[in-house]
Subunit: 223 residues, 2 copies
């Protein structure tokens, strides 16, 4: 992989997206893990899908678990950063919760592979993935805290703080069932998350706020 100076040259040119061999490996693994299954995919199959010798793949990832961990981190790092930014933001809580749910639902619905389907793997319950699970738990907690603020403001149902996070995750199930998720779905989910926690204000205004915050329509969308 001349692109990053490690490993041997590839057996065949690849058409996968990614500027580096590492990114191409991750893309091939994501495709195989989501379409064939994690246990059913060998690192040999991943290497073959990139057009690379297995020995070369090991220059980048020592084990299949390391590949999975890198893929999972890629699904959580930016959502968690953005959730914690919104949590410390001084603005109205309903707007922040709306922007967070829309942004994450959109990311889950437009990502190249439906990696969230891997969250339910029993393989993730081992210590190797503890850091990933802890980060996902932090994201879930950020949702609960934002939702709790809206519930307090609107006298909503105290136990509903868990629901917005779960509505966002439903994008994963829809992609698994239908092969895709409509572009409208993230908006419907964001509005639904607000209704769930008792918000009865102006949802159209929240959509405008989310559009502005995420600069939708600009080239420079942050989520």
């Amino acid at each position: 992989m001349s692109d990053d100076g490690r490993g041997r040259p590839r057996l065949a040119p690849s058409r996968r997206p990614g500027k580096t061999a590492r990114e191409e490996i991750l893309d091939a693994a994501a495709e195989l893990f989501t379409n064939r299954g994690y246990a059913a995919t060998s690192t040999r199959a991943v290497a073959a899908a990139v057009g690379m010798r297995q020995a070369s793949l090991y220059h980048h990832f020592s084990t299949k678990d390391d590949i999975l961990d890198a893929l999972l981190a890629g699904t959580i790092d930016e959502p968690l950063r953005f959730a914690e930014e919104l949590l410390s933001d001084p603005g109205p809580a309903p707007q922040r919760l709306h922007t967070l749910t829309f942004g994450d639902a959109r990311q889950l619905s437009t990502s190249r592979w439906n990696l969230g389907a891997l969250y339910l793997l029993p393989e993730l319950r081992v210590e190797r993935f503890e850091e990933f699970r802890a980060r996902r738990e932090r994201l879930r907690d950020a949702y609960r805290r934002l939702a709790g603020l809206v519930i307090a403001e609107w006298d909503g149902p105290p136990d509903a703080a868990e629901l917005p996070f779960r509505l966002v995750e439903s994008v994963i199930n829809r992609r698994s069932d239908d092969g895709e998720c409509s572009p409208e779905a993230p908006w419907v989910i964001a509005d639904g998350a607000l209704r769930c926690v008792g918000f009865q204000g102006d949802l159209a205004a929240l959509r405008r706020g989310t559009t502005a915050r995420l600069r939708i329509g600009d080239d420079n969308v942050t989520v």
Copy 2:
């Protein structure tokens, strides 16, 4: 298995629930599929977990896919029957949707193994599981139709009809994340499903109606 007259005697006595060898096989497979993974579990391992020879297991199920199909059918048959009963019921739509979401969420949260986690398996996309997928789609459609009635009645958001089904499924994710789902969660989910589709009436009255319909507290609960 003297209990149903087929197969050889077991290697070891089993403490699994189930009156028949078939039920014990299903219980062992459910445990292994959800805790170890479907691809990672062999029929040999299932037989060993029941204390049975592999040849005896084949008297009951020809393939591992047949075991999975039987388990999946067990998660959908009764919910589908009940959903279609409620769909043809003459009562108010909000009450019917509340009862359906609560009943299914409770079933998903109290079942012995978290079998819904298998719904996302890529292995299910093959023709072998087409009937299961079709029945699950019918259940999803019953939710959408009931939700559509509530949306029409309450002038709710037209696109939100998908959300109640997805909120019910979130029980699966909660069990996967936390190892359990609180007894209160099915009520919170049922209320949240109604809020999502625009219902602004008396949720406490719906809870009473659901309690009466499912005869909660009786020995003879139907869902």
